[in-house]
């Protein structure tokens, strides 16, 4: 008998579809309450660092160069007080086969899918991960479907996402493009059910473990070059996997590097609103993903996300769209490196944060991404203007997402805005209690302390205040 394909019927089959398509029995890590065994999940379903390095090496992923941005550092020092302005480095992840660090996540997912005997992979993403999965699937000889949220109800597409669709198709993938809405997940489930393919989710243990090599490489490259770990690493933060994997890799290397998250400030724009979809100039690396996924990671396309950024971040800052576009232009003009805007979110933040750090310290921006037609400052600003967004010079502090993009009048106006981590920690604890609707056990309290990188006392105080 054919299964019912209406929204509610398909969503009710979610658990079953997921189990078949990811090959992980998430139940075995559950406590029956809020807590689950995160490290056990990472250990039993992920890969060791050495295995990951071997997998990635075999598909030309990783070992990307670390580039010192001497001219951008010099510019930052001109904006800083004397003696300040840490050396800024960038890890050129754009040199991975698909043009971004996402190749690391995809390499592991596709390897795992092939090992389990799947004939193809499906992924739901409008980002660089689509091309990464398509690229790895091409190498593995697997079929690939990428489901994208691309157009608004007028059929107008984000130029950046259209370029990503092109790249996926160029790498042999089938691209399913949808209009705005979270029901992308509904179509995704239908496709998994229809094809029996592997769910190459961004949030499985193998995907996240794939990024651990990035953090590990950073520590090794710095030790080789300088005999010392970098003082800070800054990660563009959306779903949290980039930061989680990088931080875990640094920990595996025994590095005591500070981990800073950075997102583009898109506050006030609703991510599922059709009328606001084309009012933003960033489709990833922004607060619309960064905030909800940090304060509640288990909202992804798997039952338990392996990306749990609040466990690992020491700071979380936001930066404006105008700041990122300015730094993207500066990167091209001062360093001769033309890289896609979204990945430069952490570069813009690093430019500001370096000015708080003494000259002898080092900060590394842990990614770059490829650039191309549509996915470039010029078409993105052109698109903003055609959607009624005012683009002009000003003080980025006055930028209102969805209304204007203020390119800083002077680079000294680029400032990282500190986000309140304790507020996010309380938010996670509150969401956990509201989601599970249980009286937290002692195990839950210990888990929430770990999940928020706080302590049991902090969790108890938060629970008492709810």
């Amino acid at each position: 008998m054919a299964l019912a394909n209406d929204y509610n019927s398909v969503m009710s089959r979610k658990g079953e579809i997921m189990k078949k398509s990811v090959g992980i029995d998430y139940e075995s890590f559950e406590s029956g309450s809020i807590a689950f065994d995160y490290e056990k999940m990472m250990r039993e379903t992920g890969y060791t660092l050495e295995e990951m390095q071997n997998i990635q090496r075999s598909v030309h992923v990783g070992n990307t160069p670390v580039i010192e941005l001497r001219n951008i550092t010099a510019l930052a020092r001109k904006c800083a007080k004397p003696g300040y302005g840490a050396r800024i480095f960038i890890k050129d992840e754009a040199s991975n086969p698909s043009g971004s660090f996402k190749a690391r996540r995809a390499a592991n997912s596709v390897y795992h899918a092939k090992r389990l005997g799947f004939k193809g992979v499906v992924t739901a993403t409008s980002g660089n991960y689509g091309a990464a999965v398509a690229s790895q699937a091409a190498m593995a000889g697997l079929k690939c479907i990428v489901v994208q949220e691309c157009y608004d109800s007028k059929g107008v597409g984000q130029p950046e996402i259209i370029e990503k669709a092109r790249k996926c198709e160029a790498l042999g993938a089938e691209v399913v493009q949808l209009s705005v809405g979270p029901e992308l997940f509904y179509k995704f489930l239908l496709l998994l059910e229809e094809t029996g393919y592997f769910n190459a989710s961004l949030y499985t243990p193998f995907g996240i473990a794939g990024v651990e090599t990035l953090g590990y490489e950073i520590a090794m490259q710095f030790r080789e070059k300088f005999g010392k770990d970098p003082d800070a690493v800054i990660c563009t933060n959306a779903g949290g996997g980039n930061l989680t994997g990088t931080a875990r890799g640094l920990i595996k290397a025994g590095a005591a590097t500070k981990v800073i998250a950075a997102s583009v400030n898109l506050s006030g724009l609703h991510m599922a609103a059709d009328s606001q979809f084309n009012k933003k100039s960033f489709t990833t690396g922004h607060t619309g993903f960064g905030m909800p996924f940090t304060t509640w990671p288990d909202r992804s396309d798997v039952p338990r996300s392996a990306a749990r950024p609040l466990r690992y971040m020491d700071r979380y800052v936001t930066i404006t769209q105008g700041d990122v576009f300015y730094m993207t232009e500066a990167l091209a003009s001062l360093e001769g490196l033309e890289k896609g805007p979204a990945g430069n979110t952490s570069l813009a933040a690093a430019f500001a944060i370096a000015q708080e750090m003494p000259e002898d310290q080092k900060i590394i921006v842990q990614e770059t991404e490829y650039t191309g037609a549509g996915k470039h400052v010029q078409p993105q600003l052109t698109f903003a203007r055609s959607n009624g967004i005012e683009v002009c010079f000003g003080d980025p502090a006055d930028e209102v997402p969805g209304k204007n993009i203020l390119l800083p009048l002077h680079p000294s106006l680029i400032k990282a805005t500190e986000q309140d981590l304790d507020h996010m920690r309380r938010s996670l604890i509150k969401t956990a209690v509201n989601t599970f609707k249980v009286k937290p056990t002692e195990g839950d309290i210990a888990f929430l302390a770990e999940d928020t990188n706080s302590c049991e006392e902090f969790v108890r105080e938060t629970l008492a205040s709810l």
């Binding site: 209406d6 929204y7 001219n71 010099a74 510019l75 001109k78 193809g120 079929k143 690939c144 479907i145 691309c150 157009y151 109800s153 059929g155 130029p159 259209i162 370029e163 092109r166 198709e169 042999g172 089938e174 691209v175 399913v176 493009q177 949808l178 209009s179 705005v180 809405g181 979270p182 029901e183 509904y186 179509k187 229809e194 094809t195 609703h270 599922a272 609103a273 059709d274 009328s275 300015y326 232009e329 500066a330 091209a332 003009s333 001062l334 037609a373 549509g374 470039h376 400052v377 010029q378 078409p379 993105q380 600003l381 052109t382 698109f383 683009v391 002009c392 010079f393 390119l407 680079p411």
Partner: protein, 99 residues
């Protein structure tokens, strides 16, 4: 007429406004969830016809025929004078002017 076997783009609504998820914002609820997909046309047809295609992974999809041999039209946008001004500014600040 577009020949059977041609690579085409089709369109279909996969959820009508009344069928959308409860959590979507009001403006999104008023419009359908639309899908665009490409594949090989299974019968001779005209633009606007309801057709069946076979996708790159060998799946069947149905929808309204929109384009024959679709291609990408995204580009590098228009000249944005502000970007060139930033380029001039950062070079001047970093390396000094011409003098």
């Amino acid at each position: 007429m577009i020949d059977k076997g041609t690579w085409v783009l089709i369109h279909r609504n996969i959820l009508e406004p009344g069928e959308r998820a409860p959590q979507v914002p009001d403006d999104t609820k008023k419009v359908p969830l639309e899908m665009w997909i490409k594949g090989y046309l299974q019968n001779n047809a005209e633009l606007g016809d309801e057709v069946e295609v076979i996708t790159r992974t060998g799946r069947k999809e149905i929808g309204t025929l929109l384009e024959s041999e679709p291609y990408y039209k995204h580009d590098y946008g228009r000249f944005v004078p502000e970007l060139q001004m930033i380029s001039e500014q950062v070079r001047k600040l970093t390396f000094g002017g011409d003098e």
